[in-house]
């Protein structure tokens, strides 16, 4: 098992965990936690390829991961604000309560 494969397998495990969690949990915030896990898994695979794969440019993978971190932070902020707005309407963060379009 080469280092690249080890890191990628780790990334795959994180991604699968995040996805299973995002599908299985009913609390909106925990779904966001799953999404953050998936994003982190993607970052890890980028950095793994930067370190262990052939790349003509010395810092491309690193820069992509850096921008991805910034975007993930922005997305978390907006997502959590949405959850707060939803909470104000419904007094709950349970996703099953969002089953009506009205109100």
């Amino acid at each position: 098992m080469t280092p690249l494969v080890a890191h990628l397998v780790l990334a795959v495990m994180l991604f699968a965990t995040g996805m299973a969690g995002a599908l299985a949990r009913r609390n909106a915030i925990l779904v966001l936690v799953g999404v953050e896990l998936m994003l982190n898994a993607g970052n890890l695979s980028f950095v793994a390829f930067w370190r262990y794969g052939p790349n003509p440019d010395p810092q491309t993978g690193l820069m992509f991961a850096l921008f991805s971190i910034a975007i993930a932070a922005a997305e978390a902020a907006v997502g959590l604000a949405l959850i707060l707005a939803m909470f104000r309407h419904r007094r709950t963060t349970h996703l099953d309560s969002l089953e009506e379009m009205k109100g």
Binding site: A6, I29, L37, G53, P54, Q59, L62
Partner: protein
């Protein structure tokens, strides 16, 4: 692979599994922090110093704090009276396992690639700065715009709708809310006179 990598990888996976399966949402958030820390350690072990430290500052120092703040403000931090798992959670776990299996097998066949055994020369922060200002100047500006828009959007979304009510102190989103009297919102009640 060094034992340090295995330790950090194990910590990361355990943290991720705990984050997705624990009952109490605050425990989930704290396990997520462990995951982030493990990932930062892995980045540092790979020689990506700036990225590992940026991961700590942004994810642990900002995203996790946002998460726990919203948990507190939406009162999900309590015992979790509601049914936390979807009725079809077994199917979700199965899907997760399937995805892991498919992607894992795809990854294993990547082993044909020639790994770079000698470490690439570590990228000094000076070079990252230089590259950000020259090659990646446009993405940098775009990220600036995206972050500004996200900040304004989050603040607008999280502001209470009634006029004259002060926004929550200590803010829904930590960094993102401008404290002050409540903003105007498009859904103002119709009986009010415009003053």
């Amino acid at each position: 692979m060094s034992p340090m990598f295995y330790f950090l990888a194990g910590l990361t996976v355990l943290g991720a599994l705990a984050a997705m399966s624990l009952r109490n949402p605050v425990h989930c958030a704290l396990s997520l922090v462990v995951t982030f820390a493990g990932l930062a350690g892995i980045y540092l072990g790979m020689g990506a110093q700036f990225l590992g430290l940026a991961q700590v500052v942004v994810y642990i120092g900002a995203v996790a704090i946002l998460l726990v703040f919203v948990l507190l403000l939406t009162r999900s931090a309590g015992g979790g009276e509601q049914e936390e798992r979807a009725p079809s959670w077994r199917m979700a776990v199965l899907v997760g396992l399937l995805v892991a299996g498919v992607m894992g097998s795809a990854v294993m066949t990547v082993a044909r690639w020639v790994p770079r055994d000698a470490a690439p020369e570590p990228v000094p922060v000076v070079q990252i700065g230089r590259v950000l200002m020259t090659e990646y100047a446009l993405p940098l500006q775009v990220i600036g715009v995206v972050l500004t828009v996200a900040m304004i959007g989050a603040a607008v979304l999280a502001m209470p709708e009634k006029r004259g009510v002060k926004a929550d102190r200590g803010a829904a989103n930590g960094k993102d809310v401008v404290p002050g009297s409540g903003g105007t919102s498009p859904t103002r009640e119709s009986g009010r006179s415009v003053s």
